[in-house]
């Protein structure tokens, strides 16, 4: 057996605890397609952001108090009195936005290059599970500062469960631990907010195990067959990922230092008042498209189901997309529908921030309809009718063609 480590201590330790060879395989030797573009940076960025969220959250938790009478003041205490508390809190709240931005791009990359197709279905599922857990975590976290939006966001979202027939109201009481969003609710939300990111870490681990089974997809979407098509992860992709990280930190820094509240809602600086509802309740920007779907439908239960369905439908995507060719590069028609879908998603986000009346309501209904039509009608049919372009035998052929 070839020696894995020159350092004798390391070799001794690894012989007994092979974690180092696992890490080396994953971060150094792992053969990676040589044609990955910058859209492939967002996976490692998401992982690093998760770590940033956990570290900043842990520091916040040392000063935060989960009690209805103290929560708001403890956050202000973090902002004003705790050394660098403002920095840590802004890293955490802006970080949540950045996390979603990155993951949305990461998912869109998968949609464009067909990364969800066989044999990567389970990898794709694990990704959606991570996304669902992120949504839960961010929603719970947003209630913690106990401002007006925290309180009323929590009220409206937990009330969604009352749409369930028969047991709905008992479930809501159970979620609240009382008869309204109150101290027991805040306490359990804090517990869960603390827990879920660590569950995410576990799922991320599985996500990576599934990824390394078949390796990364690549912009051509074809399977890697030749040895020369791959290069070791280190130093090529470690450097590329680090470069991307630098760019990301610049953007992150601009928000943390110059625009820390631009992504949030000013009403959350008003302490929660259970007797006064703000005039216009909006969730954080990253939930807006789904909020629009919820409100587009005039029946409570159906609205809730559509909102859930809009995410859960992604689980079925590997089978709804019947085309064998993965990448959009060779699917001229799907490519156009892809961009229509993305634009549609942005419009949903935009109407999600408006009062659902008049033409906003009509737009949100059309876009909600289109969202589902894309998955349930367009994608299955395209597989039969679309004439795909010839797929190259290996990634070099595609490069030659371009030149």
């Amino acid at each position: 057996m070839a020696k894995k480590f020159k350092n004798k201590t390391l070799a001794w330790l690894d012989y007994r605890l092979p974690i180092f060879s696992v890490l080396k395989e994953a971060l150094v030797d792992h053969p990676t397609p040589r044609n990955l573009n910058y859209w492939w940076n967002f996976g490692s960025l998401a992982g690093i952001t998760l770590i940033i969220m956990i570290v900043s959250g842990l520091m916040l938790s040392m000063h935060y108090v989960a009690h209805v009478d103290l929560a708001f003041d403890s956050v202000e205490h973090i902002m004003r009195d705790v050394n660098y508390g403002w920095l840590i809190r802004y890293i955490h709240s802006v970080g949540a936005s950045m996390f979603f931005l990155i993951v949305y791009i990461h998912i869109s990359r998968g949609l464009y290059y067909g990364s969800y197709k066989s044999p990567r279905e389970v990898l794709w599922w694990l990704g959606i599970i991570i996304f669902l857990l992120m949504i839960a975590s961010a929603f719970l976290g947003y209630t913690l500062p106990w401002g007006q939006m925290s309180f009323w966001g929590a009220t409206v979202i937990t009330n969604l469960f009352s749409a369930i027939p028969l047991v709905g109201d008992s479930i809501v009481t159970w979620l609240w631990g009382g008869f309204s969003v109150d101290n027991p609710t805040l306490n359990r939300f804090y517990s869960l907010h603390f827990l879920i990111p660590f569950v995410i870490v576990g799922i991320v681990f599985l996500h990576i195990v599934a990824l390394h089974k078949f390796g990364s997809n690549n912009p051509t979407g074809i399977d890697i067959t030749l040895k020369e098509e791959s290069i070791p992860f280190h130093p090529y992709y470690t450097i590329k990922d680090l470069f991307g990280l630098g760019v990301f930190f610049i953007i992150f820094g601009i928000f943390v230092f110059f625009l820390p509240n631009s992504l949030g809602h000013p009403d959350n600086y008003i302490p929660a008042d259970p007797l006064v509802t703000p005039e216009h309740i909006v969730p954080e920007w990253y939930f807006l498209p789904f909020y629009a779907i919820l409100r587009a439908i005039p029946f409570k239960l159906l609205g809730v189901l559509a909102m859930l369905g809009s995410i859960l439908i992604l689980f079925a995507l590997p089978w709804l997309d019947t085309c064998k060719v993965r990448s959009c590069r060779f699917r001229p028609i799907y490519k156009q529908f892809y961009w229509i879908f993305i634009v549609n998603f942005f419009i949903l986000g935009w109407v999600g921030s408006k009062v659902p009346e008049g033409h906003y309501l009509i737009i949100s209904r059309i876009c909600t309809g289109y969202y589902f039509i894309h998955f349930l009608i367009i994608l299955p049919l395209l597989g039969f009718f679309e004439k795909t372009l010839p797929v190259p035998a290996n990634i070099f052929k595609e490069h030659n063609k371009k030149k």
């Binding site: 009323w152 009220t155 409206v156 937990t158 009330n159 969604l160 009481t173 159970w174 979620l175 609240w176 631990g177 009382g178 008869f179 309204s180 969003v181 109150d182 027991p184 359990r188 259970p274 007797l275 006064v276 509802t277 005039e279 216009h280 309740i281 409100r295 005039p298 409570k300 659902p356 009346e357």
Partner: protein, 180 residues
């Protein structure tokens, strides 16, 4: 040979029977064991105890309303005028989304007592102050998604599926109520 097969088949059957029973007992047992954990998240005894409260109505004048806090929620106490009572009683039940007679929603016609939480997604409707928007039916209006309630707290328009809830209460004096 045949005998041996028979025995091993019998053993197989017995084994699968044992497996089945073991797993079912374990499954039933663990679902019982899970219940205390689930139930621990339900309202605790002190939260339930807070559910009973007394309120004095004597300083609420006719035509005005008061909001009190009960179980963490606002409760609307409305001292209705003759007009408002009549308005509420003259509506045909067939016009209502959640048909309920006004008589069934009050103990004394001049006092309407409802939980001030919109049955849609839980916002608090406006209409308690004289200057507030009261909606198209002279009761309350929920700004969140536009539900209108009448002077009996019944939903008349908008996405809310049900009327404003009437809490359990009784008069313990002419001008005193006990909620819960």
């Amino acid at each position: 040979m045949i005998n041996k097969n028979k025995i091993s088949n019998l053993k197989k059957e017995r084994r699968s029977f044992l497996k089945l029973t073991t797993f079912s007992v374990a499954a039933i047992g663990s679902s019982f064991a899970v219940w205390p954990f689930i139930d621990s998240m339900n309202p605790s005894a002190d939260v339930l105890a807070q559910g009973i409260k007394e309120f004095d109505l004597s300083n609420i004048e006719e035509g005005s309303s008061k909001t009190v806090k009960w179980r963490g929620k606002p409760v609307f106490i409305k001292h209705r005028t003759k007009n408002e009572i009549e308005e509420a009683r003259n509506v045909k039940l067939s016009e209502l989304k959640d048909p309920q007679k006004d008589e069934d929603r009050v103990l004394k016609p001049e006092w309407l007592i409802v939980v001030g939480v919109c049955s849609h997604l839980g916002c608090i409707p406006s209409g308690q102050k004289v200057s507030d928007a009261k909606g198209d039916f002279n009761g309350w209006f929920c700004p969140c998604h536009g539900s209108h309630y009448d002077s009996s707290g019944r939903v008349r328009k908008g996405p809310a599926p049900r009327n404003l809830e009437v809490p359990k209460y009784k008069f313990i004096d002419t001008n005193k109520i006990k909620l819960g």
